[in-house]
């Protein structure tokens, strides 16, 4: 469960829950059902359509204004990453007259290792985490969703409870353990827990998904002589596309921006992942070089942003596949 919490993941947790909700419950699949929505019953004819249009206009204006307010800081950070530092502190606007790309070049080499090294480190950790979560969580989910074994209810309840356990509670002894095993300054403490399904949230998400698959498929495979392993690998896993995609995307997003765990386990600068490296900008002599810092911040957000776009596509597909259930 480590990174569920490690980066103050209230947001992340419910984000994925939202996605899960979306995946299993046919989110907004009704683009043409244009009601004016909850709490706004359609007016009974007579001139109300003009009023409804007016109301809709006001609503859109409000939403557009709110959207701009929400993303303005992000857009401004992109613009500022293309300006010299002294301009950053004078220019609240978005227009960039001439691109100051030096920030990117400077930022890339501002720390003890080129920024590419940190990107590579993060990529390794993220890959390990995604693979680990997919393998271990799907195995556990199959057991919980499909197998009848003694103690299942109890284990399931324990699994649900661990979703809510703060990582900070176990991090001290965990650190002592990994330290004694000589794993500090390796990626093992960041990746190994994923192979042990400690991100229980994804186990739960996959359980929900598998429960929604028709049981007849398992029965048919069983009659054909398939054992549990074959049912799992040949029948269930191929059908789990949306749940796998959701898990992969969220593991990617959370692990990429996880700060707490690498902060504790990685003290050798050549092992830093991107968030820890970014943070070390604040200590480095370049601490006042906001241009370079912004540039590398943008670089660090690009994979998140891509995963977000990519993930959205998968979410919609997940919604389409599972339908409104």
């Amino acid at each position: 469960m480590s990174d569920l919490q490690s980066h103050s993941a209230s947001t992340a947790t419910s984000a994925a829950a939202g996605a899960a909700a979306g995946t299993t419950r046919g989110d907004e699949r009704s683009p043409d059902r244009r009601s004016s929505g909850p709490g706004v019953p359609d007016g009974p004819g007579r001139g109300s359509s003009a009023r409804a249009r007016g109301r809709s206009l006001v609503k859109h204006l409000l939403l557009v204004a709110a959207s701009l307010l929400m993303i303005y800081p992000l857009l401004w950070m992109i613009a500022s990453s293309l300006r010299p530092t002294d301009v950053i502190f004078r220019e609240p606007g978005l227009w960039v007259s001439d691109l100051y790309l030096e920030n990117y070049a400077e930022g890339w080499y501002a720390l003890s290792n080129p920024f590419g090294q940190y990107m590579l480190n993060s990529a390794l950790v993220v890959t390990g985490a995604v693979v680990g979560n997919l393998v271990s969580c799907s195995l556990a989910a199959y057991a919980f969703a499909r197998l009848q074994f003694r103690g299942r209810t109890m284990w399931f309840a324990i699994m649900l409870l661990t979703i809510m356990l703060p990582i900070h509670v176990i991090v001290v002894p965990q650190y002592i353990l990994f330290n004694q095993l000589g794993w500090v300054n390796t990626f093992i403490p960041l990746v190994l827990p994923k192979f042990l399904a400690t991100d229980a949230f994804f186990v739960f998400l996959m359980v929900q998904f598998i429960r929604g698959l028709p049981k007849e498929l398992d029965e048919a495979a069983r009659i054909d002589g398939c054992g549990h392993w074959k049912i799992f690998s040949r029948v269930i896993v191929p059908l789990m596309g949306p749940a796998i995609a959701t898990t992969a995307v969220f593991t990617f997003l959370w692990t990429w921006s996880d700060f707490f765990t690498p902060l504790i386990y990685l003290t050798d600068p050549s092992m830093y992942t991107v968030p820890v490296a970014l943070r070390s900008f604040l200590d480095a002599t370049s601490g006042s070089n906001w241009g370079a810092m912004f540039a590398m911040s943008i670089v660090s957000l690009v994979p998140l942003f891509l995963a977000f776009l990519f993930g959205q596509k998968f979410l919609v597909r997940g919604i389409a596949t599972t339908g409104g259930k």
Binding site: V40, L63, S297
Partner: protein
């Protein structure tokens, strides 16, 4: 839908079965014992080695003095006694509670309000949803915390914009102990997109005919909202509330980056988890940090239990 309703229904299941039912189920339950535990093996190992083992170890350590160099020495309740008299600890509790109890309600209210605006099938919904959701995806990153540091600095974006509208401000929002915490509250509110998505999914589950019927009966929009939307959405509100409270208690990155690891100015952003980190991983007082960890378990546990208890009075389960 949620882990939370799942837990509640587990409890309900148990109470409502006859003895024959139970015997049947017990027989049925043993069918896949071997396979079940084999599939569960990685998770079980993780549970023991990564979760429960450390949980118990931290309970033991909380009664010791341990700095990683020498073996832990048993000190009984010393750590807990010290916690009672640690002003920085008390301050960190105050900071964290303020943060949780201000930012979570505002964030949820905003999430619900926008979800209501973004109702079914309105034009541009996917775009709006993405824009509102994006900050949730990025909000816990160091990059955004760095942006916040600039925005709320003495000549940061916020003061620049204020100057544009004629308000000359020289406040360094993050360097003033009176305002620093509020910049982090704002950052949390900014990530209202994820509870919003959950609200949107919940709103879609409410049958439209309820609203139609209410409108036929002459109920206005406000009344429909209070008497249909709110009760039917209350399990979702509850779900969001529990998750966000638990999550907010664990906020770390933003406070760490905004204060550059100090929790300053004057400890005004010293979140509980940040203080725990300082004690454990800067001062290497592992015993004290473990005692703090257990206090955190108790606080989160009590708040969650309280949430569940209070939910009886306002959460409406349609059965």
């Amino acid at each position: 839908m949620s882990a939370i309703s799942e837990l509640t229904s587990l409890r309900r299941d148990k109470s409502g079965s006859s003895p024959e039912d139970r015997r049947m189920r017990a027989k049925e339950a043993g069918r896949d014992n071997k396979a079940g535990y084999l599939f569960l093996l990685p998770w079980l190992v993780g549970l023991v080695v990564i979760t429960i083992g450390p949980l118990l170890a931290s309970l033991y350590l909380s009664f010791t003095d341990y700095s990683l160099i020498q073996a832990p020495t048993w000190t009984g309740l010393d750590n807990y006694a010290r916690m009672l008299e640690d002003p920085r600890l008390h301050n960190s509790l105050r900071v964290t509670f303020t943060y949780v109890f201000v930012s979570v309600p505002i964030q949820l209210a905003l999430a619900l309000a926008i979800a209501l605006l973004l109702d079914r099938g309105m034009r541009g919904l996917p775009l709006y949803r993405s824009v509102f959701y994006l900050p949730s995806m990025l909000g816990s990153s160091v990059a955004i915390a760095i942006l916040w540091r600039q925005m709320f600095g003495t000549s940061g974006l916020v003061n620049q914009v204020l100057a544009l509208v004629g308000v000359e401000s020289t406040t360094g929002w993050i360097s003033d102990p009176d305002t620093a915490l509020w910049t982090i509250v704002l950052l949390h509110v900014w990530t209202f997109g994820s509870p919003m998505i959950i609200f949107l999914a919940g709103l879609r589950q409410i049958p439209r005919m309820y609203y139609e019927a209410a409108s036929v009966d002459g109920a206005g929009r406000w009344r429909s909202f209070v008497q249909i939307t709110l009760p039917l959405l209350s399990p979702i509100i509850f779900f969001n509330l529990v998750l966000q409270v638990i999550g907010a208690f664990q906020s770390f990155t933003q406070a760490f980056v905004v204060s550059n690891g100090t929790g300053g100015p004057s400890d005004s952003t010293l979140f509980y988890t940040l203080y725990l980190y300082q004690r454990g991983f800067t001062d290497f007082q592992m015993g004290y940090a473990s005692a703090m960890a257990w206090l955190l378990v108790i606080i989160v546990g009590v708040l969650t239990a309280l949430n569940f208890f209070l939910s009886r009075y306002w959460v409406f389960y349609d059965e």
